[in-house]
Symmetry: C2
DNA sequence: GTAAGTGCAAAACCTTTGCACGTCG
DNA sequence: CGACGTGCAAAGGTTTTGCACTTAC
């Protein structure tokens, strides 16, 4: 059961910063031979109106509020580009859908604490993670690409969960 | 593209130890109100003939060599029981299928290093992982259930990968 | 005997893809 | 114009489920 649709909130990011990010994205597209389409911009904007992590399906709904013509295919085809651009983070916590998150600022590596009762995800800095990935990979003669540290936990009683809505 | 079918190797485990494990499993079933069926035993035996991690589909094939009547449904319905019994470990490395592994002896927490080029998975002791999960969960008022640390890396040239077949 | 287990095939679910049309550059 | 992008619907691939039949206890 994927998370319900998010509420359409105004961007957390100051207008000027958003504009700057849009410009970075535009340059990324051009530089890599991608085209600058209305749909991609709508999806991009939808991403940066989020303050929580969201699913592809949620992003579709959100982007459609900005541009009705955005289709599911385009969302799914755009997400890898957004991730590749480094402006969006993709998280896989072992559920059957992936989660996405706008990258604001230069964040360091983070671990996720996933509450199995209320599905809330906490993001926690884990600076040692990168070091660990490098060390271990090197020992095996491999080249580290990415690492992830996830803790699955329970709040037991939903109303006691620090992040339970309400 | 899921891994190819495994080769049917004899059990790594000494016959007597396997017998003992079978008994533990039998008791687990009885104690929890599950029934002791031929199919479950065949699946159990199939698991403990493996020395590498395997998919549900591979397990089906393997179990069928022991008991032709084993069906896909039964494999998928048995795996959660095997995992719950603590005798089989389930690993999710972000591919679209889960991996399973017989638990031999009392292993400590392990991290996985996943080679993105050859799909090989290395299991590495990471004793600090449990400590980390507890510490972080406690800070959030949650009860830790499980944690996982995964490093995704590349061997770049397949023939150079320490685990590339051949 | 009766509740639990099983096999089969269909369904579920997110994600990907083929194809014809649209549009950016 | 010509290649890249898009929408739609159908396909993909693993895992789950409904149902009628078996079987363990």
């Amino acid at each position: 059961m994927p998370p319900a649709a998010p509420v359409n909130e105004p961007s957390i990011i100051p207008a000027e910063e958003l504009e700057r990010k849009r410009e970075v994205f535009r340059k990324f597209l051009t530089r890599n031979g991608f085209r600058h389409t209305n749909q991609r911009v709508a999806i991009f904007d939808a991403v940066f109106r989020q303050r929580e992590n969201f699913t592809a399906e949620q992003l579709l709904e959100f982007a459609r509020r900005i541009d009705r013509s955005v289709s599911r295919s385009t969302v799914y085809r755009s997400l890898p580009i957004l991730v590749e651009s480094g402006m969006v983070k993709e998280i896989d916590v072992g559920k059957d859908y992936k989660l996405y998150l706008p990258k604001t600022g230069a964040k360091m590596e983070q671990a996720q604490v996933v509450c199995l009762d209320c599905d809330k995800i906490f993001h926690i800095d884990a600076p040692f993670m990168e070091w660990y990935g490098q060390t271990v990979s090197q020992k095996l003669g491999l080249e580290p690409v990415q690492q992830r540290l996830q803790v699955h936990a329970r709040c037991r009683r939903k109303d006691k969960c620090p992040n339970w809505p309400g």
